[in-house]
């Protein structure tokens, strides 16, 4: 094994080392702690770029932890899909961390940096692992860190919504364990590649249990992805937490979608008997309802953070529609949409933060306020972000929606998908124009109090503008990115290659 083979574990090891070191340093030497935290993030980004480059040769790599051979030990698996997700997570993390440091949000509580890196550890691990129980453990790691981050800064409202968030996720984890227990009882394995082989070989007597296990597992992932009707925890949680934390959480629902894309074609694919494509009939209605509820929420939201939370819901719904078809072309379009939706959702939360810091007592409420410092720049950033989120030309959201429409044409249920995407986009446009004009255009009532806060520094624009620049890059390089997602989808939809890569490499 050469050094580059061990690079695969870097996205898990780097945050695992950085988090405790940052925690110890933060108390005495804040500047050094900050350097370690930022350095860890840069190292993670470098590793993600290197891994993305490695995955370009179309090979699927498996890394046996502790050198235990494949079905017995835990393996990490790197293919195009996990490499892409790692890169997206690292880029997002960089922007969020920079914004937290620049705005001083990381100083509102003691442990922002360690929690942030533990969160990344969980997210990266979930993208890399090739073992279902290990996926459960990484989900727990990212959830536990997210509980801490969600409560960062505290306050009664945050605690109240925090309880609901924690309880919902504990029940979700219990269901996850139930599904794992059923699958283990049926197949005596938890390695995903081994599961794919053994599920296909199950006898007729076990088909009922297999179907239950498949539905339980996918409903847990749907809960993490906030697919309707399992979405009720999301809007209040994301609206109550700090915007910079919510920006990082923009990738969390997509981790649920990633888990669906990873497990369904592999384990519950065409060869799985009674459990073949088991969540498919549920995902399309969930996606349609998610897009509708999300964009209607964007229209009726009373604050920018609430609006951004519903925008995340809407993007997950839009994403689930093409995913539910389980076709290569539709999956490729969905992946393109997913990448840009993560950046756009995060940018919307960061713009909300930038606005809140300048509007003083008016905070993020969509009501007219007297003019505040930097209003024009904020309004411009909000306009561009809204265009990206809602999917209007020229930004990547439009390309993503166009790809989805094109790929789902003539698939079963395509009129519903087309109608939903076109109508909800219109609702979204109306919603963002309405809130944008109340926030930045309408004059305040003559007797309104002047804005208390005066903030002239512009450094907090860096992170949201960087995310918007990424979105612009995704648009300019749309041909290359779409080609990437096409080969990625082809790899995902050919599970026998994954199985051969994991089980064949057993030493």
């Amino acid at each position: 094994m050469s050094m580059s083979d061990h690079l695969m574990i870097a996205p898990v090891v780097v945050p695992a080392i950085v988090a405790p070191v940052a925690m110890l340093l933060m108390r005495r030497r804040r500047d050094v702690g900050l350097l370690v935290s930022l350095g860890g993030c840069v190292a993670m980004l470098a590793a993600a770029i290197a891994l993305f480059g490695m995955a370009q040769d179309d090979a699927i790599r498996s890394y046996a932890l502790g050198a235990w051979p494949a079905p017995f030990g835990i393996v990490l698996v790197l293919d195009r899909l996990s490499a892409t997700m790692l890169l997206v997570a690292a880029l997002l993390a960089m922007a969020v961390l920079a914004h937290a440091i620049v705005t001083g949000a990381d100083r509102k509580g003691w442990h922002f940096h360690p929690l942030f890196h533990f969160q990344l550890l969980g997210i990266n691990g979930a993208f890399l692992t090739g073992d279902l129980f290990n996926l459960f453990v990484f989900f727990e790691v990212l959830l536990i860190a997210s509980y801490g981050l969600m409560l960062h800064g505290q306050g009664a409202l945050r605690l109240k919504t925090g309880i609901a968030y924690v309880v919902v996720n504990i029940v979700g984890s219990a269901l996850f364990l139930l599904a794992l227990g059923l699958l283990y009882g049926l197949t005596a394995t938890l390695n995903m590649a081994d599961l794919a082989v053994r599920v296909a070989a199950l006898g007729p007597g076990d088909q009922g249990l297999l179907r239950i296990a498949g539905l339980l597992l996918t409903s847990v992932f749907a809960l993490k992805a906030a697919a309707v009707p399992l979405h009720l925890w999301l809007p209040r949680t994301y609206a109550a937490t700090m915007p910079v934390v919510a920006a990082l959480f923009a990738i969390m629902t997509k981790v649920g979608v990633y888990a669906l894309i990873r497990t369904v074609p592999l384990i519950f694919g065409a060869s799985a008997g009674a459990a073949a494509w088991v969540p498919a009939p549920w995902l399309l209605p969930a996606g349609i309802m998610g897009a509708v509820i999300g964009f209607v929420g964007v229209l009726v939201a009373r604050g920018m953070r609430e609006q951004a939370a519903f925008a995340v819901l809407a993007s997950t719904g839009t994403l689930l529609m093409p995913v539910s078809l389980w076709r290569e072309g539709a999956l490729a379009a969905a992946l393109y949409y997913m990448v840009q939706a993560i950046f756009a959702g995060a940018a919307l939360f960061l713009v909300a933060d930038v606005t809140m810091r300048r509007r003083g007592q008016y905070a993020d409420a969509t009501v007219p306020s007297p003019r505040f410092a930097g209003q024009d720049a904020v309004a411009m950033a909000y306009l561009v972000t809204a265009i990206a989120v809602v999917g209007l030309p020229p930004l990547a959201g439009f390309v993503g929606k166009l790809l989805i429409l094109d790929a789902s044409f003539a698939a079963p249920g395509w009129p519903a998908i087309w109608a939903t995407i076109l109508c909800t986009t219109l609702v979204g446009v109306v919603g963002f124009s309405r809130s944008g004009s109340s926030l930045f255009w309408k004059p305040a009532a003559p007797n309104a109090d002047p804005v208390a806060a005066v903030l002239r520094r512009r450094t907090d624009f860096v992170a949201p503008v960087a995310l918007l620049a990424l979105l612009a890059a995704l648009t300019i390089a749309a041909g290359w990115v779409a080609a990437q997602t096409r080969v990625t989808a082809a790899q995902v939809m050919a599970p026998q290659r994954y199985v051969a890569a994991v089980l064949g490499s057993a030493r």
């Binding site: 536990i144 509980y147 306050g155 009664a156 109240k160 309880i163 309880v167 364990l177 227990g181 009882g185």
Partner: protein
């Protein structure tokens, strides 16, 4: 009565109690419900390796057959995680009660119907 029936009904009873308690309006009852839920899940996980009596989970010279050791390892991991989670929920409920003066899950202040419960 078989061992399977006893274990299955124990899991079912715990599960029923946990669902009832988790749906209550107060944080303390919800915490108890989640604890029962984790007991039910742990028992279930323990049983997925099939119920066997008098067999060692690890290799021994005398034994001719073994119990499945993996579910026991899984249960251990699950216990540690749910234990930590329960502790977190307790602290969170307590802080929420102290900050908002209400132990309702939705944070609302005492309603008439609940004062007797």
């Amino acid at each position: 009565m078989s061992l399977e029936f006893l274990v299955a009904s124990a899991i079912a009873t715990l599960m029923a109690g946990s669902i009832y308690l988790s749906l209550r309006g107060r944080t303390f009852q919800v915490v108890l419900g989640l604890t029962l839920l984790s007991y039910a899940i742990n028992l279930f996980l323990f049983a997925v390796g099939r119920l066997v009596v008098d067999r060692p989970p690890l290799w021994s010279k005398e034994a001719t057959a073994h119990a499945d050791p993996l579910p026991q390892a899984l249960v251990l991991t699950a216990i540690v995680i749910t234990f930590g989670m329960t502790a977190l929920t307790v602290i969170l409920s307590l802080r929420s009660f102290l900050e908002s003066g209400s132990d309702q899950v939705d944070g609302r202040v005492e309603r008439d119907g609940d004062s007797a419960a």
